[in-house]
Symmetry: C2
Subunit: 637 residues, 2 copies
Amino acid sequence: MNKEVNVDALFLGPKSENRVFYKEMMEYAITEHMHWRSGFHPEDSALVTPRAQHQPDFRDTLYRTEGILRDLSSRLKNKSVPWFSPRYLGHMNADTFMVSHLAYVMTMLYNQNNCAVEASPVTTDLELEAGEDLCRMFGFDVSKSWGHITSGGTVANYEGLWVARNLKSMPLAIARHEGAKDLVAGMTEHQLLNMKPTDVLDLTDELKKRGMFEEVRELSVRGAGVEPGKLGKLLVPRSKHYSWLKAMDLLGLGQENIVQLDVDGNYRTDVQKMRETTLRLMEEGTPILGMVSVVGTTEEGSVDAVHEVLKLREECEEKFGSSFFIHVDAAYGGYVRSMFLDENDQFMEYDALVATYRESEIVPEGVVWPKRDVYDAFKAMSEVDSITVDPHKVGYIQYSAGAITMKDKRIVDLISYHAAYVFEEAGEDSGDEHSVMLGSSIMEGSKAGAAAAAVWAAHRLVPLNITGYGHVIGRGIVTADWFASKLATAEPFVIQGRSFEVRPLMHPDFHMVNFTFKEIGNDSLADHNSLNQRIYELCSYASGRAYSKDFLTSSTSLSVEEYGDTPCAYTSLRGFTDEEWQKEGSVYILRAAIMTPFLRDEMRFSQYWSNLRDIFTQILTEIVDEENKKAMSHSAA
Amino acid sequence: MNKEVNVDALFLGPKSENRVFYKEMMEYAITEHMHWRSGFHPEDSALVTPRAQHQPDFRDTLYRTEGILRDLSSRLKNKSVPWFSPRYLGHMNADTFMVSHLAYVMTMLYNQNNCAVEASPVTTDLELEAGEDLCRMFGFDVSKSWGHITSGGTVANYEGLWVARNLKSMPLAIARHEGAKDLVAGMTEHQLLNMKPTDVLDLTDELKKRGMFEEVRELSVRGAGVEPGKLGKLLVPRSKHYSWLKAMDLLGLGQENIVQLDVDGNYRTDVQKMRETTLRLMEEGTPILGMVSVVGTTEEGSVDAVHEVLKLREECEEKFGSSFFIHVDAAYGGYVRSMFLDENDQFMEYDALVATYRESEIVPEGVVWPKRDVYDAFKAMSEVDSITVDPHKVGYIQYSAGAITMKDKRIVDLISYHAAYVFEEAGEDSGDEHSVMLGSSIMEGSKAGAAAAAVWAAHRLVPLNITGYGHVIGRGIVTADWFASKLATAEPFVIQGRSFEVRPLMHPDFHMVNFTFKEIGNDSLADHNSLNQRIYELCSYASGRAYSKDFLTSSTSLSVEEYGDTPCAYTSLRGFTDEEWQKEGSVYILRAAIMTPFLRDEMRFSQYWSNLRDIFTQILTEIVDEENKKAMSHSAA
């Protein structure tokens, strides 16, 4: 059996090429369930008779059902965006796996709720298995770590901050408890607030042995509430997702306790400045509640140097005896770690990796990937405390499926709502009724077991390593490299005597390519921004039906409020003065996550690029015409 | 056209009776999407060729896909619980609407994400529309209120507490702001912490006019974090869902700031004690962060006297000048409010309601529903500040679909992540790109647009009033009345000379019937509890494959830790001494939410009950045999 996955066979396809298979499997999914129903106590008679089914009012309800579905279908066809097509290069959206669709529908019919095993005798197990898959992908020890599905990355980030917060407050709670305080005897409040996460978890083991874990837990934030500022600062890069602001509000920690870290020219956390800020806080005696690294920023697809964060933590532990929690927000980029794992899920040495890429034609000659620091960052993820990852992004699974993984599963007891020992037993016999109540171990309560089945099925079909996701994700990475290279060297577009040059913001860390057009000779940043905004409008649903567009993309604005002066490096490069940057304070960019697996063929890509040039020419012409018309009506008036 | 819905035509049915229609519509949903794909730029050639599709490695990936789906199907068929069957009377699970399944699958193919309109040009609108439906059902002014989908009731409860918390802290923030403090001039801190929710929202209007809303908002909990205990106590009944404990932890408020309210013999908040507790707090000067009423307790299906909570708030406002936020947790019972609305969605007078029930045969002669206080409670819901409701419970929609509604949509600005004015504009033109970013107005981020479509479609087909859900939910309510009456008067089961009597815990407030078996003459509560636990095991997946059971139910334990001595009223009635109650401290009960719409026929129910008596006889015989065997092996040893 061929161990490598055939990528084209995973998707319905841009032209519904795999429609026969899809329909056959859908028929299977539904029919099996129908037989399951009718086979349950075959002696029971049907409760709806054919005669009743043919009465006018019965038919009428069916007709209304059909009418509503037709209405829904026409709405969907009219206004949806064709993510499935290679003509769409925008958000982290592309075609999604057939197996996940089919698994969802099949499971939905059994309507399981992963809140408790009793409501999900099948799908709680699938969720735990999918969580283990993700832990393994991140290099966590599967027997000691823990992962589960969430509705998305936002909720996963909340949960990461929740465990970090409660963990941070545990040593103080221990010091407050008469029967436990000997465990931290002699430690100052400052020391208690700066313990290593692992050391705190070891203390919770001791508390459990003494039978006083629950009591002490009630003295932590969980029972007593947040004391403002006491738990220190959360350090997050400026490139963060806005869910971190929501999280600080939601968790009662207050947004003023966020310290934003500057980013470098690659939109990664500036390592030098991160170190300075961290050491300054250490010297001031301010605890660090947590440090967030982003693996795949939403706007630029940049990968923070996770290895540098770990190094910095070690430095702080040595110099100050102070440690902190590290969370990686890999909602976007998490699955890319499968690119680095061999068929036994082992992280490969750099040279062996590149050799394997060449051999299995995942990354061809001429494409330099990964950059060395991106490689180091992914490698280091196995050492952090918790990681957010979204199967519904680079997992190629339909919405909603986010996930969180934690390196040390003991941490769950800090937020769980059952006696502490129960969870530990769960690992050994998750079939036991009382053993796994996901709803009491995680933030969410009810959730569709079908979503867990969708993720589980994808992972079974597509291994989270070089033989599976490596092929899927590799296609986008290679295409992104080609695309960025084309943009970097593209001849100007000449429209009615005016020349427009396109350039990428930077070379992608994996597959997001940002780019802008600039009219040569026009050094007004305001004009540049309007031009690109107009291009976006013409290449999106914002100027009419997406279905009738030739090319679709997304956009964003990099502003001084969010990024400081980082974007100025790019605007300078494009010939705008620093004064222009100061005046405008933002640069409007086009943003393309190259998720499509259907352009990974040199001939095909070359043809695609040539078409795209024509499309851009046409769009620029349209814009020039609009401007001319406006100018004429001005001079006429 | 017949305006009344035909309930039997809404479901696939216990024997898949509506299989032809279901399959036809599924075929439609899928095929339309496939054509949508292939019709997008018909000039583009297919990217996967028939030749490629017939290569061994391509086929191999398809075979593996099929293998995984077969494996999933066998797991589901082997261990799932047949919710769809009337033989299942347990959790709030039953058959679910075909239209919601079909809408989900159809929409899933377009893979929309309701985080932002750009990612969900169709389904954000559907979510807003479904939210309006729910607001209307609760009697809120649709133009001033706001509702949206969540993953479930737990997350909805979090969001309710989040807005309540941030609202509570706003007056203090106003007093702290130089440019705003005149708005609350002369007010003491105590007064600031006890303002009417509406008055605080009026102040936020003033802040917006002054252009200082965002600044002041940053001085509230959102920016500064929680100050422990300062915001007062959350009052929740002992019958609460455990998500309220999670919520106090998550939101940084601390579980010690919960005050638990005792429940009365009907497992509703004890009105007299609630009043005493509230007035005592008022006299002490302790603010009330919020008051939670439960409409449909998870364990008993009881309905709190919401009207009494409103009366109490008025009393506090008059006597002490102090007010508080009221949240109703109607995750379970919320949709039951549709039973009270006429075809124009108006809440009916009691007598007119009963007359309508008789006329449309929704509630027949002999069934007394609603109890007067249940009626008053549902009526009063239109006056509370926020309500949690789960479409995936009594909305008969598959998982996951929860929801929250808020009476005054201005409150969203206290947790939103955009400039305050944007949301207000959204109502007028929700088609505008920037107008609705659900992800920045609510707690969750990414979520499946398909879930919104499922709820929307159900609401279109089944109006949220007496003509739609009234018929669906009414069926369960009537069946529950019959079931409770049968249990209340059932002759004892005589097994090998021993007699077992079954009785209901109480008459249901809508459709949950709890009951227990007791051996006549055995007044040991421990024995009673073991007996009922064993019955549960034999009537659930806990003793083997659910599919092979004759009857399935759920169970719970009412303990002194959770309920104080309330359950003692029932144990006394059943002949257990107070000492027995003190010794055991809990009573094990069987718990049946009568959601099934398929037993609402007197003949059929009578037959069902007679079968059920046989099943119970058989199960009790099995238990007696087990006991005899155990006794014999004891005496043999």
